[in-house]
């Protein structure tokens, strides 16, 4: 059986920085041609693409807000035409957080986070699964969060979206399991990125490993789940959190 990356390409959403950028670099190093999606940080995405190209890999920067229902078709069509093969690995990484305590959280804060962190992943999966079903092969990795498994006051919207992503992962994984497609979630804990830059460092004391993780440590797990070796892993949630959810 040929390696998945020989017959298809990969799409990583929110890949201009942080975990997404590290994942795009890791998949490219594994041999995948990678779509580097971004919403606003064009320079960041271009930097990731350049880095991959200078390492001998293939990458394409793709602008698009995943919260827009028209984005999945645009991204998939651009990749299919650029690389001439279907998307056989999808990493739903794009996410936002708008923190507030539930009693004071606005509808806008709730809806924006659910839309970007959960509904967008659903729409991208739906678009990805059609060609994957025909190919009898595919890998989807949804970037959830420790917050989807364990409470973190002030993040009810983010937690609901990330827990929803786990339920979406499990249910859809079972639906398509017969077709050689695996769907898994990775649940990072406190990872050193822009998103966690303003989180109080007191929280580090709660992490059994007593340090923040790196984007590369998350990317390594995604790389495994996207590989042919992970063919029998589906519907799983892999925590990458220094023991925080244990």
């Amino acid at each position: 059986m040929p390696e998945l990356h020989e017959g298809g390409c990969a799409l990583v959403t929110g890949a201009s920085r942080g975990i997404g950028a590290a994942t795009a670099r890791a998949l490219a190093a594994d041999g995948w041609a990678v779509g580097v999606n971004y919403r606003s940080d064009a320079d960041g995405a271009a930097g990731v693409v350049d880095e991959i190209a200078s390492g001998g890999g293939q990458a394409l920067a793709l602008v698009g807000d995943v919260a827009d229902p028209a984005t999945p078709d645009a991204l998939f069509e651009a990749l299919e035409s650029q690389f001439g093969r279907p998307v056989l690995a999808l990493v739903n990484n794009a996410g936002i957080s708008i923190d507030d305590l539930t009693p004071t959280m606005s509808d806008d804060a709730w809806n924006a986070v659910i839309e970007t962190d959960l509904s967008a992943a659903f729409r991208l999966m739906r678009r990805a699964l059609r060609p994957m079903m025909r190919a009898r092969a595919g890998r989807i990795v949804n970037i959830s969060s420790v917050v989807g498994l364990r409470a973190n006051p002030g993040q009810a919207n983010y937690a609901a979206a990330k827990a929803g992503l786990i339920a979406l992962t499990k249910t859809t994984a079972v639906e398509v399991a017969r077709r050689g497609i695996t769907i898994n979630a990775v649940a990072p804990g406190w990872i050193d990125t822009d998103m966690t830059a303003d989180v109080s460092s007191d929280l580090l004391a709660q992490v059994p490993a007593r340090r923040a993780g790196t984007p590369e440590e998350v990317a390594a797990c995604v790389s495994f789940l996207a590989s042919s070796q992970a063919a029998y892993v589906t519907g799983a949630v892999l925590s990458v959190d220094g023991g925080l959810a244990a």
Partner: protein, 80 residues
Amino acid sequence: MSVTTEQVEGRVVETLASFGPDASQITRSATFEELDIDSLDLVELAQVVEEEYGVVLKGEDMKELKTVGDAVDLIVERAG
């Protein structure tokens, strides 16, 4: 675009056979249940039909289908 029942039947049988059952078992009167064709297989069949004949079959259309003949007749009717 007008297609014949024979053409559609040939394409449907070929697609269903790719899901597992032996082509000889796939007769007009065979039920999807007998053939072990599940609902996701029918989604995939609908995808093939859409690409080939431009006929869009929705989830509710597929739910009504019990036999291979039901599927062929519906596709021919819609494509006609």
